[in-house]
């Protein structure tokens, strides 16, 4: 416990292969739910044009990290920048694939409608999607292999198909940086393959993908970079050097009990 911290968790200096620039920088980020910190002082700098996995046990704060970066949950302290500027200035360059369970799939829209929502950001207030937006949405559906199901109501899609619709919606955003919250959760093998192909295609076009990922076995195969998280950042860097047995043991080998206790003390000590 008293060894010197791994150099990967340091924001600077950057590993050599990130010379292309930094997509996301997280500085001293602490996030609390119901006053209790769930992420402590995370420092993270992610490269561009890479597929990056966020890995860690249940309750490690993986989704929370994404949501905090996207401004979906309040930040207790620290700051976040995207492509070197505050998130607000870079919104147009950011795409998002939320967890599938976060929406009501009985909502009366079809697959194309959902994908079209990806274009709303650039449309702005009051303007309706144009023919070009429709084309873009159709193209995005085609890229995830769902062109045939464009007019199917979303509750009549399988879990994998729903996930592909969400992915297509993010593609329709035409962003430079994508945040994906468990894109592979509960999908069939065919969908998993399709998603991987899309991700690799994005990378080849210089886009960056940050995905919360559960399946440790596929991390080296699917991703270039990895960030290991368990309430605090354990390590981050290229998969080859970071995704090691030692780091995984640190990530999954139980939580830091004192961190838990301190979190509880902060919760009890703060008024709601």
């Amino acid at each position: 416990m008293t060894n010197v911290m791994p150099s990967q968790s340091n924001a600077a200096p950057l590993p050599p292969d990130t010379a292309g620039g930094i997509s996301v920088e997280v500085h001293d980020l602490t996030v609390a739910y119901d006053r209790k910190p769930v992420l402590w002082d995370v420092d993270l700098a992610l490269p561009t044009a890479k597929l990056i996995a966020i890995v860690g046990p249940n309750g490690a704060g993986k989704s929370t990290l994404l949501k905090a970066v996207l401004g979906l949950v309040p930040i207790a302290s620290g700051w976040v920048s995207v492509f070197g500027s505050p998130l607000k200035a870079a919104r147009r360059r950011v795409g998002y694939v939320p967890q599938r369970e976060t929406v009501d799939w009985d909502f009366p829209v079809d697959a194309l409608d959902v994908v079209l929502m990806g274009r709303y950001g650039r449309l702005g207030w009051f303007r309706r999607p144009s023919r070009a937006d429709r084309e873009a949405a159709r193209h995005a559906l085609d890229r995830v292999g769902m062109a045939d199901l464009a007019h199917r109501q979303i509750s009549q899609l399988s879990g994998g198909q729903q996930q592909r619709v969400f992915l297509a919606r993010a593609l329709a955003q035409d962003a430079d940086l994508y945040f994906m919250d468990e894109p592979f959760a509960g999908v069939d093998a065919a969908t998993e393959r399709a998603i991987v192909v899309v991700l690799q295609d994005l990378r080849s076009k210089g886009r960056t993908v940050v995905a919360v990922h559960h399946d440790l076995q596929t991390v080296p195969e699917y991703f270039d970079h990895v960030a290991l998280l368990n309430m605090r950042l354990v390590a981050a860097g290229p998969v080859a050097s970071t995704f090691t047995r030692e780091n995984l043991q640190k990530t999954y080998g139980g939580r830091l009990t004192l961190l838990d206790e301190a979190a509880e003390a902060v919760r009890r000590g703060s008024p709601g």
Binding site: K67, L70, G71, L72, K88, R91, R92, V94, Y96, P98, T102, V103, D104, F107, P108, V109, D110, D113, V114, M117, Y120, G121, L123, W125, F126, R127, R128, P129, Q153, S155, R169, Q173, F179, A190
Partner: protein
Amino acid sequence: MSELLRLITLQDPNTRVVLLGTAALGVAAGLVGSFAVLRRRALIGDAVAHAALPGLCVAYFVVGDRSFPAFLAGALAAGVLAAAFVAVVKARTRIKEDAAIAIAIGGFFGLGIVLSRIIQNQPTGNRAGLDSFIFGKAASMVGSDATFIFAVALTITLVVALLYKELKLTVFDRDFAVAQGWPALAIDLALMTLICVCTVAGLPAVGVVLVVALLVIPAVAARFWTNRLPTMLLLAALFGGASGLLGTVLSATLPAPAGVLSRGWPTGPLVVLCASALFLVSLLAAPKRGLLADLVRRVRLRRRIAIQNLLRDAYEHLEPRGDFGAAFRAADLGAGPAHHDEPRRPFERAEALGLIQSAAGEYRLTGQGQAAAARTVRAHRLWELYLIHHADIAPDHVDRDADRLEHVLPPEVLAELEARLEGQVPPGVPASPHALRGSALS
């Protein structure tokens, strides 16, 4: 009867305006209600409506006379207060939204009763038209009131049309909207404001207790007919408008019940019951999500399963002989799941479909029947094989599991199965992976 004629032909200018007012209101409520229902905000309207009563009374105290716009302004202020009360209680305390709504309904309405009785006790006090607000009496509206409501309803409709895209996105996926940079909270507040305005505008016609029905019922009814939001909005507007129109016409034309103190038929309940009737029709008869359609689908599926089981049993009975055109008797097929309550019906239906032929108590598979049987057995066995190889289920258990699912496997899944099992099964019907039930030779 002549009065009805006058109404329908809109000869009386006052009636014409009142009818237009209630119909426009129904349209607006249908639109706003659709979003409210989808956002699970349906019953906030109830709190807003009940809270309107003290607002009306305070407006009366302030203005000192029956003034329609002042009444609506007072009701709106109180309604917004109630909505804010619910929001604050929900956000800042451990009390859940449902309890907060119920407290707002009971508490604010109680306060309203207290105030209205105080008004009544004043020497100059009459109910100041408050009564018509509680149960709704469109007929007591004058032309200018109705024009006002028409204008409000029109504004609501325009705002919904303008904000359609933003409302749809925020209601469906709030997180995504925020991530895209939309001010979800402001859009949410806009929806709440629309709900409040719509509820208050509906009070004179439908009344405090029932106005929430105008928001909820047309929207829920419309949802049964379609899976597309624009169609749902259109239908909800249509149902709402029709209910408003019909209820008002009925209230004005039905012969008043003969009671000493009877004041004619109240509009509110009639409007609501028109909407309820539309809802009932939708619930039962809607082609996609209606109960009858569901029932038909279930019956069809059961019949298809019965016929498929019959074909499969026949196929497996004939399989050892290698002659699928041979004759068999019903008794040969044992007592599989196909032959429960009405043993003869599947045979009759299969024969009517040209899958089997009967002669002298014996049956034969027709050519078409043999092909169908082969398809069924193939699907069954592919699924069994898949379960054994990929889901790790013991061979003697797969028959039951396969039995349940094979009938609902869509073609693309079957294709996927074949792809998965590639190389493991020959083309055509694979051999059964387990001993067949019932001896085929008996």
